[in-house]
Amino acid sequence: MHRLAAASHHRTGHGLTRPPFTLAGTLLGARLVIPLLPGVIVFGSAFGTAASQKGLTLWETLAFSAFVFAGASQMVALEIWTDVWTLAGLLTLVVVTTTVNARMILMGAAIQPWMAGMTRTQLAGTTFMMTDSNWLIGSRYRSEGGSDRAVLFGSGLALWVSWVAATAPGHLAGSLIENPEAFGLDLVMVMFFSAMIVPMWKGPRPAIPWIVAGATALVAQQLLGGYAFIVIGALAGALTGAFIDDDV
């Protein structure tokens, strides 16, 4: 990882350095996604199955996974899916989608300083591919000194391909594994997030905001239910971080 992190910067015509965005970085990103693939494939197929049960065609299901590319919100949307839409129904769909995916606003804000200097195309593509696990992969790679922005894009692309590809067999043949909960696969993201806390650990002082975030999120979940707890907890953590000195 560090070998690639040291990749040289490209020089632009004006003598300014443009941060690297290389094929090697794309491939490294794809490789870092491998531990997550079993979970992505099982849940992609589970989404395909759930969508076919709701009466979505194969093409609708594939377009759903390819364009929306946000698993939790896709599953929740199926709960309110219908054959014939009304304006009120569509409005509800947009509000629910935005609530479930609002955490992406904060994820984008956190990683933006790293995206500065990307071309417009790189920025648009990388933003589209940003989802929980590759955002975390990119954040970790960056915190360890990596500079190749294509790691974020490559890990997102690998997740996107697996997610879309897994949707089809699920729609056509039913879920790949009958009872994913028995293998803990419903918690695959939670396990990945937990493991990633270890390399993020920089001592107890920078972890104070995390504890505030966790406690606030727990309370918000108890009081409000739904999905707002992630954003509420994360904002509380960031606010705490703003007011404490995080020097170790």
């Binding site: 992406m104 984008g108 933006q112 939670v190 997030f193 993020m200 703003a242 995080d246």
Partner: protein
Amino acid sequence: MTMFEALLAPPYGGYVAILLMTAATYLCRASGVIFMSRVRIGPRLARALRALPGSIVVGTVLPVAAQSGAPAFIGVAAAVAVMATTRIEVLAMAAGLAGVAAARALGL
């Protein structure tokens, strides 16, 4: 049926819904990036941004694990322990999932 009603019924209605969801999700993905590219990042905001990744991670893991009960916490502990000792993601994931599966098999 008016043209508008036809647009919201099969075969188009599903695609209209998917299109709107796509727009809403991309707006979530892009708005944080666009907003931060327009503000000047002072030391206080920089500290908040540094605290954000860990806050999002813990703020997601803790409530979801609490909702899933003891097997989730056993899995989280196993994943963290293996990651701390080996620093190999695949092993940490395997340990976490095995922990959840074992705890559930035991009926916890």
